[in-house]
Amino acid sequence: MKKGWYWIFLIFLYLNCSDDDTGYEPTPMPLNIPEIFSTNIIPPVIPSDNPQTVEGVALGKKLFFDTILSADGTKSCASCHSPQNAFTDNSPTSVGIDGIAGMRNSMPIFNLAWNDNERFNWDGSALSLERQAEEPVQNPIELHSNWDNVVDRLLAHPEYPELFELAFKTSTITKELTTKAIAQFERTLISANSKFDQYTLGEATLTAQELNGLNIFLREDKGDCFHCHGSPNSPLWTNNDFHNNGLDATFTDLGLGAVTGDPSDNGKFRTPSLRNLAYTAPYMHDGRFATLDEVIDHYSEGLQNSPTIDPLMKQIAQGGVQLTAQEKADLKAFLLTLSDTSFINNPEFQN
């Protein structure tokens, strides 16, 4: 009987102390939230099962820029999401390792931690940033890999096993941990230092033309851009929602509708942020507009009616909101104040 109690006690101690004998923990690395965000919008979404750590972010950055994720070792995430292009590329649709072009424009990557509706991609098909990173790796017209093979390559690599150990306290490399690391790095890609941000903080002035452009952006009877694209107090410059913005009368790409199966979602695509437009041409989900002028022309007189066009699109019968040439120029001048040079040149985000 005496021995019985002894063993119960030992088992009790073992169960409480056996998790991690080394005591090592990755270093927490909370996001550095810019003032323009902390004073205006709610904190970002960080999954409880993937906290930001120094080691996780470093691993994610290395993976993001590493061609090891592609089947033939020729392309990485950064091939289509280049820092110099605010983490998109300059092609209408991106080309995979086999030289095949996809059907969508590469989306820029910044401020995604604040996408609190948790639908990613133009069509909302990925329900978290972690899951978003899975698909391009195995997509036959993108990196065309097989995740099992990717894991094998990472396991055989001279550095990655140790980096996973540091980031996640395990030498077992999995698809899930790989995408968790990439997502951690992507959440650090924060852009909030444009000329307009500095203006909002009282650190810069706008020209008369830029201010007039802002006025057009915010007036419901002019550009009426703010209902989908934010405002000075909603400084993501996207509502992270999905809209049919009148690009086509009939759809070759159903967008959100193909994901939800709801015909009323046909032709809807995610609202992109207007930040960093100077670096992200061409525009729209299929990269159909080469210039910002073409985009503004579309909303001014190029709208196409369809059953699911958003009610926020105005004067559809006339093709749009009918801006004058001067108003278009002013609006463009304002939009370019949302460019954040410090973001695309941030050494933390370079390979």
Binding site: I41, E220, F226, D262, D310, P311
Partner: protein, 262 residues
Amino acid sequence: MIRKILLQLCIVLCVFGCESDDSNSINTTQASPTFTFSHDWDGTPVSSSDFNNFIFTNANGETISIERLRYVISDIIFTANSGEALSINGHNLVDVTNDEGLSYTLPSTIPIGTFVNVSFTFGLDNEDNSQNLLDLNSANFNVPDVLGGGYHYMQFDGEFINSNMEEMGFNYHAIRAVDASDPDNLVFPEDTFFTVNLGSIPITSATEIEIKMNIAEWFKNPNLWDLNVYNQMLMPNATAQILMSENGRNVFSLGEVTQGTE
């Protein structure tokens, strides 16, 4: 001796491991009622699953499809028999499109008992509307400064069949009425937020109060709404805003009050 010590240690560990948290014990004199929000069209229940279909007809005879409906309520006030009013600061964004905010539990407690009136504000009063409300900013619910600033009270978007038998969008957006014809001198002709009185409600430890919105009333009383006249770009239209506010006063009513058990 060792056996006794081990036994005592195990007992102590068990006791501490199983102790209930006294701080969570039920307070029998205070409660946080829950408000739920339901929607109908002249008595026919409406939810997001009914959106994007031309299944509604307004009082003026226009066929309507609802695409988006979200609105803010704020400042719930409980008035006691003595006349004392307990005002709960806070607001709730009801997003019917995405089935969010349809249930709102008060962020603070009130005494249990019967109140002679419970009321709330549709939209935000001018003081609240001038605050920087981070959740509404994140929801992109702002009104630009050139239109008076603050927030929408309601975004109600959809399409209707116009007099030319064409589908046309409408944006029934309620905000603080403003005359912005002189951008340097905005004029606010009258308040367009309003108080909704629900009447006497008994509050127990687990009261749930249903607030009903008859969406059809936005087009009906006292102003028959002609969507061919008022459809889009209504935010800078102070006249339209005042008409909306007048109609809105007939939109809400008290639904079921349930007294659950905890």
